[in-house]
């Protein structure tokens, strides 16, 4: 098995550019402990069908993910202080899109998550980012719906994010934004069905996109870098993966993707995140790359 890191050192530049955390010298990820995490409302199909959440188990699962990221993958983790009454604050991926020193703050379609917006904006401001906010009438779900791949952004829309936000992302980051319509209500936002990896690889679930979206993805990503995931494994949140260096971390139960990634030289870690799946999120949703 070849080592990706030794072959392609040039590809290890941070996908989020040079941020206020870049000086730390290693990848930095924002996480929020699940002190107040639970499933207390239903704003997606996963929540509507969810059995009761085991909060104690969720805390152990979150710690396992934290340990995998810090101890096995070698990233630094910054912690966002949890807030009582904001159970979904744990999903830091949704907080903002980060690129260089800019943080484009989420503006949630669902009222339940709106109180997170000023709280996260303040955190990014206090940590050296230039904070950009969306107009009141335009919804945007942060890095949940906008993923940087190479020199461009794959951005989802229609379920949680308005396509109008994509023009503002370009204005804020100077990056071209490729708009992908999400057609399956279970695969929202785009980080549940698409995941950029190091070395230009891209995991995606073809069933989550229409023919236009699939054509856009296939036109941009070389065939040998494109990693399609079955609908079954996508439903296990296989695409909702965290990538640090050559390590890819995702929920357990996606053996085919694990084998595919190992064959490509990635180090795969699968963590049980069953309690967070009840809320419609997994490893990627629980993290936000900030440096």
């Amino acid at each position: 098995m070849r080592s990706i890191s030794s072959d392609l050192n040039c590809q290890w530049a941070s996908p989020v550019g040079v941020t206020p955390f870049s000086a730390q010298g290693k990848p930095t990820i924002l996480m929020c402990p699940p002190e107040y995490f639970t499933v207390k409302y239903a704003i997606n199909p996963w929540m509507e069908e969810a059995p009761p959440c085991d909060e104690a188990l969720a805390k152990r699962q979150w710690e396992n993910l934290y340990n995998a990221i810090t101890q096995q993958a070698g990233a630094n983790v910054e912690l966002l202080k949890p807030v009582e009454g904001l159970p979904d604050l744990v999903f830091t991926a949704n907080a903002a899109l980060i690129y260089n020193d800019v943080a484009v703050i989420a503006h949630y379609k669902h009222q339940e998550r709106r109180p997170e917006e000023p709280y996260c904006a303040k955190w990014f401001d206090q940590h050296g980012f230039k904070v950009v906010t969306m107009p009141e009438h335009i919804f945007f779900e942060g890095a949940g719906d906008a993923l940087i791949w190479q020199d461009r952004v794959f951005a989802g829309y229609k379920t949680r994010t308005d396509i109008a936000s994509h023009n503002l992302l370009t204005a804020a980051t100077d990056l071209p934004v490729l708009s992908l319509e999400l057609i399956n209500p279970r695969f929202y936002p785009v980080n549940v069905c698409l995941c950029p990896l190091a070395d230009g690889h891209l995991i995606y679930s073809p069933d989550a996109f229409d023919e236009y979206g699939r054509a856009v993805i296939e036109a941009n990503v070389p065939p040998d870098k494109l990693i399609p995931v079955s609908a079954e494994e996508a439903a296990r949140f296989a695409c909702n993966a965290v990538n640090v260096h050559d390590t890819v971390i995702f929920n357990q139960g996606s053996a085919r993707l694990a084998d595919d990634l190992k064959a490509r030289g990635f180090n795969v870690i699968q963590v049980d995140l069953s309690e967070f799946l009840k809320s419609g999120g997994s490893s990627k949703c629980l993290t936000l790359r900030i440096g």
């Binding site: 020199d151 461009r152 829309y157 229609k158 308005d162 396509i163 109008a164 994509h166 023009n167 370009t170 100077d174 990056l175 071209p176 934004v177 490729l178 708009s179 992908l180 319509e181 236009y212 054509a215 856009v216």
Partner: protein, 161 residues
């Protein structure tokens, strides 16, 4: 284009901005309009010159009745299509050479001859026309009659059909 716009029908001018070409958004919108029994005419296309630049489209939608137009507008609103600004600021260009349309200035070409009763006949008002701003007002003028210094409308922003 189908025959919808040629018959009695409703029309509305709309705008769309974004990475419309790379994202196939323009293709999708056009396909949807036609699928919903409407039609369209592209009035102005400004394609971003750099990869990061967004493109902008101004187009007129046609529908055979009000219900169809409403349905079309409701569906394509999800793709960022919005009614064109009803009071847009026009952009202008200045004529530099007599009888020559400046780059980007609006022009519409009418046929110069018609084949009738076995022969080609000259049309009195045929040829290329443009829109001018003059004496605090507006008007249309044949391009061959333009003089240096004439102020013209550039593009299609601020024009309605």
């Amino acid at each position: 284009m189908s025959g919808v716009q040629e018959s009695e029908c409703l029309s509305m001018t709309v705008e769309l901005k974004g990475h419309l070409i790379d994202s196939l958004t323009l293709s999708k919108v056009i396909d949807l309009v036609q699928h919903l029994d409407g039609d369209y005419q592209l009035n102005d296309i400004r394609v971003g010159s750099l990869k990061k630049d967004i493109s902008a489209i101004n187009m007129t939608l046609y529908a055979p009745n009000e219900a169809t137009m409403e349905q079309i507008l409701e569906v394509i609103a999800h793709y960022g299509v919005a009614p064109a600004d009803e009071h847009p600021g026009v952009e202008t260009a200045v004529c530099e050479r007599a009888g020559v349309l400046p780059d980007g200035a609006f022009g519409v070409k009418l046929p110069r001859r018609v084949f009738h009763q076995g022969e080609w006949k000259e049309l009195e008002n045929g040829g290329l026309w443009t829109v001018v701003l003059e004496n605090g007002g507006t008007g249309v003028r044949r391009v061959t009659e333009l003089q240096p210094g004439d102020v013209l409308i550039s593009g299609t922003q601020g024009l309605q059909w």
